[in-house]
């Protein structure tokens, strides 16, 4: 099988980590029977400044027509408002209907200082406040701006359904791997703020309950947690959580919080997942402070590559990459500066490739 992968480095360290993602795909053992071809695509603030569009039509078209999946690096946000600019990743998620943003957060034997964490945040990726429908009025008391938070039954159902499926798949991997696990049975925690937003978050909550009540999820424990408590609990007992499903904005906030638990955003991958398509994307941003120095941590990208492969049905290839990355972290010989080490992007990558 040959997979065609779009490469969208974007801005800043996106340009340093996406090439590492390509390398790990090229280096997978041929015994897996997988081949890859690549196409370079543009998006980001730099693209906006050159072309007037942060997400050229060509990028979207090529992804739709030619590609099986993609890797997205990062985009820099302008520090002041720039007319006409708006985040290309948010637009891409909507245009390709990548309705789930999947963000696993996991300690390895070496990286955990204390309790082992193994959770995944499944974030709705197309609506909520991210519909970006805003307006501003002038009033005698000054400006008043309003934004729409939209929650639909349809989007809430499909995100909860995929959260349930991820919970089952994780349980399946746990029980076949034989490795002792933090979790004895699959669990999904529904996050919302329905005590204040009874209609919108209320709809999310009820729909999630209904989706997860399906027969196929009968082995899944379903719990819920108000978003503010969820952040509290995430920090007090992260080892308790398995799959957390949340509307878009809460998912955004929770996943950065969860990343803090494992020491560095440089470790945390994500995948933007739709039906038959996935874009791997490291959770970190464009990191202007370290841009161009060759010291960006490639781990988040390498794990995002694996995550993309999982959602393209290539679990064996994904498992190889995860194991090589865990090997690198546990050996702790080649760690990038965000991890307290001194290794360059290239050295970390080489160490992971050696372990493939």
């Amino acid at each position: 099988r040959t997979l065609r992968i779009g490469l969208i480095p974007g801005d800043g360290i996106g340009r340093e980590v996406i090439p590492a993602g390509r390398r790990v795909l090229e280096s997978l053992p041929s015994s897996l029977g997988l081949k890859f071809s690549f196409v370079d695509l543009e998006a980001g603030f730099d693209t906006f400044q050159r072309t007037g569009s942060a997400l050229p039509d060509k990028t979207v078209d090529t992804l739709k027509k030619e590609c099986d999946g993609a890797l997205f690096g990062a985009v820099s946000s302008p520090s002041t408002k720039v007319a006409g600019y708006s985040s290309p990743i948010v637009a891409l998620r909507k245009k390709l209907d990548l309705y789930a943003n999947v963000r696993p957060v996991k300690t390895t034997a070496g990286s955990s200082n204390g309790k082992p964490i193994d959770l995944v945040i499944v974030r709705e990726n197309t609506e909520d406040l991210y519909v970006k429908e805003e307006q501003t009025k002038d009033t005698p008391e000054g400006k008043v701006a309003e934004a729409i938070k939209r929650i639909s039954e349809r989007a809430s159902y499909r995100i909860s359904n995929i959260a349930g499926e991820i919970a089952l798949r994780r349980q399946n991997i746990r029980s076949t791997s034989g490795v002792a696990s933090v979790h004895s049975s699959p669990m999904v925690t529904i996050t919302h703020k329905s005590n204040v937003l009874s209609q919108t978050d209320g709809l999310f909550r009820e729909t999630a309950r209904r989706a997860l009540a399906a027969e196929k999820f009968s082995s899944v424990n379903v719990e819920e947690q108000i978003v503010d408590s969820m952040v509290y609990k995430l920090f007090r007992q992260p080892e308790y959580y398995d799959v957390i499903v949340a509307p878009n904005l809460y998912g955004d906030i929770l996943s950065d919080g969860a990343a803090a638990l494992v020491g560095s955003l440089g470790l945390v991958p994500s995948a933007n997942v739709g039906d038959g398509f996935a874009i791997g994307e490291p959770c970190h941003g464009s990191a202007p402070d370290i841009e161009g120095q060759g010291i960006a941590n490639p781990i988040a990208t390498l794990r995002s590559v694996a995550l993309m492969l999982e959602f393209l049905g290539e679990e064996a290839a994904a498992a190889k990459i995860y194991a090589a990355v865990d090997g690198n972290l546990d050996a702790a010989q080649f760690l990038s500066p965000d991890m307290g080490g001194k290794a360059t992007t290239q050295q970390v990558l080489d160490d992971v490739l050696k372990r493939l």
Copy 2:
């Protein structure tokens, strides 16, 4: 000076901690020249079930006409939707125009396992998604619910202004107390998500920048942080932060996150502050799991009493309470179960009173 204080225990452990709050006021040394009178007021889910209203008019009227300040315990949220019920504390904040929710989070010598934290979250308390303007439509694809997030220049200005004033006051207390401090100069960090919500959060950001650019704040460092990064940073380097100002919902989430850093929600106070009025409110909820056992931690309430007094201009009385509470925590002889101790609410209270 005699201050009249409304007591609103609400539900659950609210009924166990609010009496402790009253006791600490009654026990303040007479040398302070302060007297207190009290009036018992109703609100909460229990009140709703008995009277059909979660926040009786009488409670609001009495607070407006008779009181200088109040203490609010907690309210329980029904576990399923109950027609006509809506949170009385959210309503109270709006009806009394208590526009700032002030939530200090601080380690004491005894409670810090690692870096000392001394920050305060200043949360806008009247608008954002808390305007609760929601509607639901039926569509061929199922229900679609929408909520309004409203951000006004006026509310953003006054919350940022009070955040700046709190930063100056904290600096003043630090420099006169002579105690070595984490912070060398006052700082306010503006939190928003203007990279997605350019109009609403953009307005909050710009207005906060403008408010904090006033001459009186020339000694205050002003920084900003996108809300997801803010959660990440809060956990990675909490010792760095001084005053964090945020729209309502982000403030809600951030303050629970910050509470997790100091070990227990049972330690974290808040004050709902308006012009000339303040309601002290522990950050924890009604805690149905420990209700009626007499083991609720009264510290959050005792600190909320002090915070209320600060905003009523009684800083000396507030300082006495803070010092007595810190003494209790550092001695660690009488700690409630949430802190790993075995003391009852009454024993913790007695120990604090002894130190007044």
